[in-house]
């Protein structure tokens, strides 16, 4: 079931993405309402990270398009913020907590520009929001997993965006951090921000999210949590059997067959 909305914050239209021939996202097509906390769930390798990366333009689409507030990403990049997986960077990098959060204040129209006083104030404000203001000068190599995640979140807040895409912000963090983060996300929602969160813990889905995307290479369901978080859709998303789609995917890879007749 795919529930469509008017004036979406995010629209994916027939998005297909392949990795070395094998399709990882197959005709993903949905619209997301603005001002909601949206969960993305699906088994490992179901294309959740790929989806976020392709929305952010980090991975080329094989077909389809992405619209953010009805525009192309390049027109309103500053209104979108991306939080990569914590494990995707080397934390033994010579930088302090403040250094990392300041990265959210990067001016991309002027590469030579230094950070201003205002940038620093905003960064400090964001660190306060994630309760890391006592760790400003701390070396990032000395942070715990939960603290690393908070720093990533603060960097994202510093971008002052309207749409946030977060890749597993709850993975491997302590309970206190998880609570702090979800409270923050709810507060952001009341300010009208749209937040998309890749999530793993099915137990908290109902409590955390208004809207749910259920993904397994194809989009199984998109709709309010109430409507789509049902045993049927869960089974379809996580069901163990190799679906016909997956079999065709393997075949496409094996034969180097194109996914579209025309590019």
């Amino acid at each position: 079931m795919i529930q469509q909305v008017e004036n979406p914050a995010l629209e994916l239209h027939n998005v297909t993405v392949t990795y070395s021939q094998k399709p990882v996202l197959w005709n993903i097509d949905y619209t997301l309402p603005a001002g909601k906390l949206v969960g993305v769930i699906g088994p490992n390798g179901s294309g959740k990270t790929t989806m976020i990366k392709s929305i952010m333009g980090l991975i080329a689409l094989n077909s389809g398009y992405v619209k953010i507030f009805n525009k192309n990403l390049s027109e309103l990049r500053h209104r979108v913020s991306y939080v990569p997986q914590r494990g995707s960077v080397d934390w033994d990098f010579p930088a302090s907590v403040l250094d990392i959060v300041l990265m959210g204040r990067l001016k991309t129209h002027n590469l030579f520009k230094r950070f201003s006083k205002e940038d620093k104030e905003i960064a400090l404000e964001c660190l306060k929001k994630v309760k890391m203001d006592h760790f400003i000068k701390r070396q990032i190599s000395e942070l715990s997993g939960g603290q690393q995640q908070r720093v990533f979140l603060a960097r994202s807040l510093a971008q002052e965006a309207d749409l946030y895409l977060m890749d597993e912000p709850f993975a491997g963090v302590d309970a206190a951090t998880e609570n702090a983060i979800i409270e923050l996300l709810k507060e952001m929602r009341t300010q009208g921000k749209t937040i998309l969160v890749v999530h793993h813990d099915l137990q908290t889905v109902r409590e955390y999210f208004d809207w749910l995307l259920m993904l397994n290479t194809r989009l199984v369901a998109s709709g309010t949590t109430e409507q789509v978080f049902t045993p049927n859709f869960l089974y379809e998303t996580y069901g163990g059997k190799l679906s016909i789609l997956a079999q065709v995917g393997e075949l496409v890879k094996e034969k180097s067959h194109p996914l579209r007749e025309k590019f």
């Binding site: 980090l58 979108v80 960077v89 010579p94 250094d99 959210g104 990067l106 070396q139």
Partner: protein, 432 residues
């Protein structure tokens, strides 16, 4: 022995020839080091090595085509083949099943092989002009002339300037490329700039140290600097300083002893600094680690002695009795030398008092012994309750953990266990 007059002459740069060589080497080493920091942080150290080797065929082809040894032309050839090798590495690792490390090894050996082939055939061609071309192979700083130094200095300054100007974007890219791209940085353009800079640094460095040692000039300063700082800006400055300093020292050795080659000596000094950094660096240096271990051992010894005094006090219902060495040994068998050392330190810290060869706890010492005892017993209880360990399995663990628990965790333990009165062996837990 080193002639003092030579030393003075050298470092005051009195000899104009020396002046040029030293200046050129310093700038070149500093520039390679600065560029190398980003190669190091982006985990591209090996790429630098491959590109250095891949420069040789470019030099040879440039010479074969023009027949002269103009530094600009040779460097142009070097740059092109260096950049081409980089392009090949990326192409292979992106579009084939070959993994990056294999691609690097492949490109390195193929380009270097072709380079040696060309060089040998040029040397055997009888072209009188060719002599000196082999300096690209092993480097020959002493042969630097004014023109070379001009080229060096120009590019050296250029590289350092670019890094200063684009410092923030480079930093963001080195830490988190996806994030950099997602926030709109032109990462591909910046990648190209960094690649061009790396190849340039290698191209100008090669005449001093040669293709084989060039990677050391690029990466060693960065690797050494990382042991001393957590701040990228300081790391860059430090790497530049290490590079420049080794450059001067290398130049001095070959100035003082005419037969000594400059490049290998520069690399030798770089390596020495690297060894010193690994051993004594403040960040993860071996010495810093050993000192930490030593401090831990001392802390454990002292706390164990105080705990022993406290246990004796509990036994006799008095914490002020002075104890002889024998009494302590009877309660807990310390190694005698260690015990004496610990007692001495504790007396100096005023945690123990010495009266006529006997030691007694001061008030402060008593509190400290009580604290360690309390943590030990709390931890034992925590293990039995929350890790479901049998009460005869928890002592060993508590013996070690009691020394590391901070006051904050201690408080958490107390609250979590709801201020228990006794430990799993029914011994009372002493509170403040």
């Amino acid at each position: 022995m080193i002639d003092v007059q030579d030393l003075i002459d050298f470092f005051l740069l009195r000899d104009p020839n020396v002046r040029w060589v030293v200046l050129g080497i310093m700038l070149m080493s500093a520039a390679s080091a600065v560029v190398g920091v980003f190669a190091y942080l982006r985990k591209r150290a090996l790429v630098g090595d491959a590109v250095s080797h891949a420069i040789l065929p470019g030099v040879c082809v440039a010479f074969l085509v023009t027949g002269i040894k103009n530094p600009w032309i040779l460097l142009g050839g070097a740059f092109l083949s260096g950049y081409f090798s980089l392009w090949c590495i990326n192409l292979i690792s992106k579009h084939s099943r070959i993994k990056p490390d294999t691609a690097i090894a492949l490109i390195l050996s193929v380009f270097y092989g072709v380079g040696i082939l060309l060089l040998t055939s040029i040397q055997n061609s009888g072209n009188a002009n060719q002599s000196g071309l082999d300096k690209f192979l092993f480097g020959k700083a002493a042969a630097l002339v004014y023109d070379d130094v001009l080229v060096f200095s120009f590019f050296g300054v250029l590289l350092i300037l670019v890094v200063m100007l684009l410092f923030i974007p480079f930093k963001v890219m080195a830490f988190d490329r996806d994030f950099a791209q997602s926030s709109g940085l032109p990462v591909n353009a910046l990648d190209t700039v960094l690649s061009v800079m790396t190849v340039l640094a290698i191209t100008i460095g090669i005449q001093t140290v040669g293709v084989v040692l060039m990677a050391a000039l690029l990466i060693t300063p960065a690797a050494s600097a990382r042991y001393w700082t957590h701040n990228l800006r300081i790391m860059v400055i430090l790497a530049a300083a290490i590079g420049a300093f080794s450059g001067i020292l290398g130049a001095f050795v070959s100035y003082e002893w005419a037969k000594m080659p400059t490049g290998p000596w520069v690399v030798t000094f770089l390596s020495l600094i690297a060894v010193v950094s690994v051993l004594f660096g403040t960040h993860k240096g071996v010495w810093a680690k050993l000192r930490q271990l030593h401090r831990n051992r001392l802390k454990m010894l002292e706390e164990n002695i105080l705990k022993c005094f406290y246990h004796l006090g509990e036994q006799d219902h008095s914490f002020t009795i002075a104890r002889s060495l024998e009494e302590i040994q009877e309660k807990r068998l310390f190694e005698l030398r260690q015990l004496k050392k610990g007692l001495k330190r504790l007396t100096r810290k005023k945690l123990l008092l010495l009266h006529a060869d006997k030691y007694a706890l001061t008030d402060q010492g008593m509190e400290e012994g009580k604290r360690v005892t309390r943590i030990h017993r709390l931890w034992e209880l925590y293990l039995t309750k929350h890790l479901h360990l049998a009460s005869d399995h928890v002592h060993e663990d508590a013996e070690a953990i009691e020394h590391i628990i901070t006051p904050e965790i201690e408080r958490e333990l107390e609250v979590h266990l709801n201020f228990p009165r006794t430990d799993p062996h029914q011994t009372p837990i002493p509170y403040k």
